[in-house]
């Protein structure tokens, strides 16, 4: 078993409120796509809000009512890649611009966490800040250019 797992955070600004007709298809597909993640090979954990179904009620930035966050942990880069691009999740991904604004800056980040660690919203947002400030690196990277897990035993 790996000592480190891959954490993923992704923020997206929806084009209209979640209860609007424009977002209806997205909201309708969310339970299925989350269930697919939960049973995907290599899935470890995903961030959920108080009600426990998904993270759509969380707002990572206080003054932004339309900014959603999605954060999860996977056993490997390959597991996350398979789910993201080689499952029904791709159906939703290909329609992202019908529901989400294009963000000019980095809107996602990956980083390695000790196995068992569950990232918090603020921790995840720090990784986005990190990649926005310094670009891709071992502390915050993307699927396009993944970094290997740290060598040695986690200290956290």
């Amino acid at each position: 078993m790996n000592d480190f797992h891959l954490a993923q955070v992704n923020v997206g600004r929806i084009l209209a409120p979640l209860d609007s007709p424009q977002l209806a298809d997205f909201v309708a597909q969310l339970p299925g796509i989350n269930a697919l993640a939960d049973r995907a090979p290599g899935f470890v954990w995903r961030l959920v809000d108080g009600e426990g179904a998904d993270s759509t009620s969380l707002r990572p930035e206080n003054d932004d009512d339309l900014l959603l966050i999605n954060c999860s942990v996977w056993e490997s880069v390959e597991a996350l890649r398979e789910y993201t691009y080689r499952s029904d999740h791709l159906k939703v991904l290909a329609r992202r611009r019908e529901w989400f604004e294009r963000l000019a800056d980095f809107h996602l980040a990956l980083w390695w966490v000790p196995a068992g660690h569950r990232p918090t919203v603020s921790e995840a947002m720090e990784r986005i800040a990190l990649i926005r400030e310094g670009g891709e690196g071992p502390e915050a990277f993307t699927l396009r250019a993944p970094h290997p897990p740290p060598s040695g035993v986690p200290t956290a």
Binding site: E82, Y85, R86, D88, L90, K91, A94, R95, R96, R97
Partner: protein, 220 residues
Amino acid sequence: MSSEDAALEALAVLGDPVRRGLYRHVSGSPGEVGRDAAAEAAGISRSLAAFHLDKLVEAGLLEVSFRRLSGRSGPGAGRPAKLYRRAEGERTVSMPPRTYDTAGRLLAEVVEQAGLDGELQAAARAAGEAGGAASDEGSDPVEILRARGFEPFWDGGTLRLHNCPFHALADQFPALVCGMNLAGIEGLLAGLTGGQDWTAEMDPLPRGCCVALRAAEGEN
């Protein structure tokens, strides 16, 4: 040897029509192909097929693995069969030199950055529809997809596509390029007289094109 010379040498091996037929048969098959099946498909003897298949392996166009087809193992199970599949690498030659892949990558990068997924899908749908309406390959979606390099095969009632013609770009920009491809295929079906009863959707397998098609009752 330059990469162009290497590609030319590999491709020269395909100059022989029998060999080319074998390559296409193996390449378009979703699984691995044995010598007997390849020989039968090409209408030649097993030993001639073996000769040509091994030439294709030498050229790096096919890869080999060994497996017992009977499912038996241990003493008396016989020698494992030699099985062939398409090699992974891509080979491109253009005379004179053209690098449309570089342009494609840059264009995709900019379209992605600009968030123009919807516009790209609309263009792909329109191009697919126009291409379907003007197709020289008849009106059967299976044959048209074959002619366009998708290598279609039936998986029960589902038509799957063994080859992704946009592989490297789809790998780098999956949401953008797979969305474009689906829209293009949907447009193609809309433009074909024989495509009206078909539906296409994303249903990715571990390899190949992410789009799967289904025909209305009675088409298969």
